[in-house]
């Protein structure tokens, strides 16, 4: 990567973009299939909005939206991409599902998607590469400059437990109930370059850190950092990566709208000076959200207050209300607030479905019905 690519390209403030990693299932037992190449090949033959890309194993596919100003516009596009993908999948007799993990696949049966980069990752990380068959949503938020991006990263870090609890949809892994609402992030933790961005406040400071790491020969590009939130200079965005892929595009758009409204609030009102304490508490708060979801507890670094995640979220939603209304996210956040108040979550839906059907195959089947937009009937 040339230094040029580390120049922070300014983007119009508070625009959003969404990436979703999706599961490709077979329609026989609803285990993961291996048809990413055929699916992507077939989609390339037809015009559709957004972009469709391979991921680390052949059972995954990623969709990227373009740049959007608000909830309705990103949702509109996500629906179009989903529909295009559903049509292609049906021709190949495949199912597509959301959710942060596949409930019962065996990681050892996965195969690395044959590109140079993925082969290199597989050689480096061994079995972790195949275990990385988990599915996340990334939300990009446009920033005017690199300094803003770093401020936003440090501010958003306090809200990482919100993002985790709101998106949690990976209660099952390898055929077992993990007891976690989001078990996916435990898989990410195993990578040596996961974690958080360094505590620097200017883009120059960040460049210094990056060239030092590159000088050590540890990384070649920003892609090698698996941080929860990282800057993406060539897009001019901050990328939040802790979300599990939700079970529907509707939920994915709600999460993007929440991140956008929060970013708008933080960058406009600048409520705090970044504090290292956020990172001292970071792993504890993050664990609480992964383990208990909306029922978790959080310690606020700025007030030293212990508070329930759900309560903190409802407070935050009120705090950002004005910033949600401006780009037209008011209705979306009202919907999200209602869900939080009612304790509705994708992880909850998955567990209830298992309780009702007693079979993880059925859970995966209904998961794909939900994603593909068919009415879920048990």
């Amino acid at each position: 990567m040339s230094d040029n690519e580390m120049v922070f390209k300014p983007s119009p403030g508070f625009t959003i973009g969404v990436e979703l990693e999706l599961q490709i299932l077979n329609p026989r037992d609803y285990n993961l299939a291996r048809d990413a190449a055929d699916l992507i090949g077939l989609l390339e033959k037809h015009r559709h909005p957004g972009e469709i890309k391979p991921e680390i194993t052949e059972s995954m596919v990623e969709i990227n939206s373009s740049i959007h100003r608000n909830h309705d516009s990103v949702l509109g596009e996500l629906r179009l991409v989903r529909d295009a993908m559903v049509r292609a999948a049906e021709r190949l007799n495949l199912r597509i599902a959301g959710g942060g993990s596949h409930p019962f696949h065996k990681w050892s049966e996965r195969r690395i998607y044959p590109t140079e980069r993925f082969k290199r990752i597989s050689n480096l990380y061994g079995y972790l590469a195949k275990q990385f068959t988990v599915f996340g949503q990334h939300v990009h938020i446009g920033c005017q400059n690199g300094d803003d991006a770093l401020y936003l990263i440090h501010m958003l870090s306090r809200y990482v437990p919100h993002f985790i609890a709101l998106s949690a949809s990976s209660p099952f892994q390898q055929g077992q109930d993990t007891c976690y609402q989001s078990s996916r992030l435990n898989t990410v933790n195993a990578f040596p370059l996961s974690g958080q961005a360094p505590f620097v406040h200017s883009w120059d400071g960040f460049l210094e850190y990056f060239s030092k790491m590159r000088g050590f020969g540890i990384v070649e590009s920003m892609k090698d950092f698996y941080w929860d939130i990282r800057p993406k200079p060539e897009y001019g965005t901050v990328e939040i990566r802790v979300f599990d892929t939700p079970l529907t595009v509707e939920r994915a758009a709600l999460l993007a709208a929440y991140a956008q409204s929060l970013a708008r609030y933080l960058l406009t009102e600048r409520p705090h000076v970044p504090s290292r304490d956020v990172y001292a508490l970071y792993n504890y708060n993050r664990f609480q959200a992964c383990r208990y979801g909306l029922e978790g507890r959080l310690v606020d670094a700025y007030t030293q207050r212990h508070i329930g995640l759900r309560e903190d979220m409802l407070e935050t939603l009120r705090l950002v209300e004005r910033h949600a209304a401006e780009p037209g996210n008011g209705a979306a956040l009202a919907q999200l607030a209602a869900d939080v108040a009612a304790g509705v979550s994708d992880a909850g839906w998955l567990r209830e479905t298992y309780q009702r059907c007693h079979s993880l195959n059925d859970v995966a089947r209904l998961q794909s019905d939900l994603w593909m937009g068919h009415a879920a009937t048990a």
């Binding site: 329609p27 026989r28 055929d38 077939l42 033959k45 292609a88 021709r91 007799n93 007693h358 079979s359």
Partner: protein, 400 residues
């Protein structure tokens, strides 16, 4: 009463259990040798071992009859599994796949028929041989796919094409029965009712088995272990009943599988893997089919066998190559599909088994045409499927 009457009397009576165990052992060793020495699929080794045993006179017709029960169980398991894989909704969503199945069947029939006619085979024999030639061996394709851990568009599409061409071949052969009956001056009632009985009876049996399966699976609840036993029980029962009623094991079990999946609107039946227990029966199946092949037939069949094989391959390939593109699969997949449809088994002849026992003369003449082709395809078929699935990138990764 002699002092030694607890000893067995000679010659020893054949014991089905000892026979089963020995065939299994022989197949295992043959498969392993072929895999290690020649790097060919194990299935080829099972078949070669069967040929060797029969060549040495160790596995004669009487013993083959004794072992047939295990062949039937294996057939039942494979055909049910294949039927269960057949997704009728897919054929609706991708009509090109359905069209490919029908077209390649029609072309392979046409090519074989006219090639045989050209080489002076009588039309009746040419037609029955061509109808048999439509079918790709479900056993070989299923088992190689399983052995290779293959998954993907080529694997799935090959299995769907196999299921379709097996059904089409069977229906055609059954309809040709009328012609055979007519040729042997049977009454027209026989000529009409026999095929009707086979088709309708086998379908009703398959339907009944699938309904019973779905009812019982709902009652048993979601338990992989119980559903596993349920399926084994009903598969064996259905094979047995089909034999008792002189119906078609192929059609009954295939339709049982198809209906167990496609009529399961409430998703009551779990997807359980029956191939692990099936494995031992499959080994015996291939040893026995090897034993039914005689090298001597290769000489008598000679040129005709080659003509049969080439015509069949060309017909299937034109059918697959001309339509697969429209299904939107990757370039190169169509070629691999053509190769994957190569296998044919001597067991395809069981489609005319009932009739053959009525008219032994007919069976003998048909055998000279088909058996030698079956012998060659039985040996190269597994290799062809393995090659196709590996080339398509759908086989399991080799352990490093």
């Amino acid at each position: 009463m002699s002092a030694l009457n607890y000893l067995p009397s000679f010659p020893l009576p054949p014991n089905p259990l000892a026979l089963f165990g020995l065939l299994l052992l022989a197949g295992l060793i043959g498969g392993e040798l072929v895999k290690r020495v020649l790097h060919l699929p194990r299935i080829t080794g099972y078949v070669l071992m069967g040929m060797l045993l029969s060549g040495l006179g160790l596995l004669n017709g009487k013993l083959i009859d004794e072992a047939w029960i295990f062949v039937d169980i294996a057939l039942g398991l494979v055909l049910f599994e294949l039927g269960r894989r057949l997704d009728l909704r897919w054929l609706r969503r991708d009509p090109w796949l359905l069209a490919t199945g029908i077209f390649e069947s029609a072309l392979s029939f046409g090519f074989i028929y006219f090639a045989l006619i050209y080489f002076d085979v009588q039309p009746l024999y040419a037609a029955v041989a061509a109808a048999i030639g439509i079918s790709t061996s479900p056993m070989v394709v299923m088992l190689v796919a399983h052995e290779q851990g293959a998954e993907g568009q080529v694997t799935e599409r090959a299995l769907h094409l196999v299921a379709m061409n097996s059904v089409i071949a069977f229906v055609l052969v059954t309809m040709l029965l009328s012609w055979i009956h007519h040729e042997y001056h049977a009454s027209w009632i026989t000529a009409v009712l026999h095929p009707a009985y086979l088709l309708v009876g086998s379908l009703i049996l398959g339907y009944a088995a699938s309904m019973l399966t779905l009812l019982l699976s709902r009652w048993l609840g979601k338990s992989a272990e119980r559903h596993f036993v349920l399926l084994l029980a009903l598969i064996v029962v259905t094979v047995g009943v089909a034999r008792m009623l002189e119906l078609s094991v192929l059609l009954a079990l295939l339709s049982f599988g198809v209906m167990a999946r496609n009529l399961d609107a409430r998703h009551d039946l779990m997807s359980v893997d029956i191939s692990r227990v099936g494995q031992m029966f499959f080994v015996v199946l291939f040893v026995v089919s090897g034993a039914k092949l005689q090298l001597a037939e290769l000489v008598t069949g000679g040129t005709l066998a080659l003509i049969f094989i080439v015509a069949r391959f060309v017909g299937k390939s034109i059918g697959v190559l001309s339509l697969t593109h429209f299904s939107g699969v990757r370039a190169g997949s169509a070629g691999m599909l053509c190769i994957a449809l190569t296998p044919m088994s001597v067991l395809a002849l069981t489609m005319v088994q009932g009739t053959a026992s009525l008219y032994p003369d007919f069976a003998a003449r048909l055998a000279t045409i088909v058996l030698s082709a079956a012998l060659i395809l039985e040996l190269i078929g597994p290799l062809a499927v393995q090659f196709a699935l590996k080339q398509a990138g759908e086989a399991r990764e080799e352990q490093q």
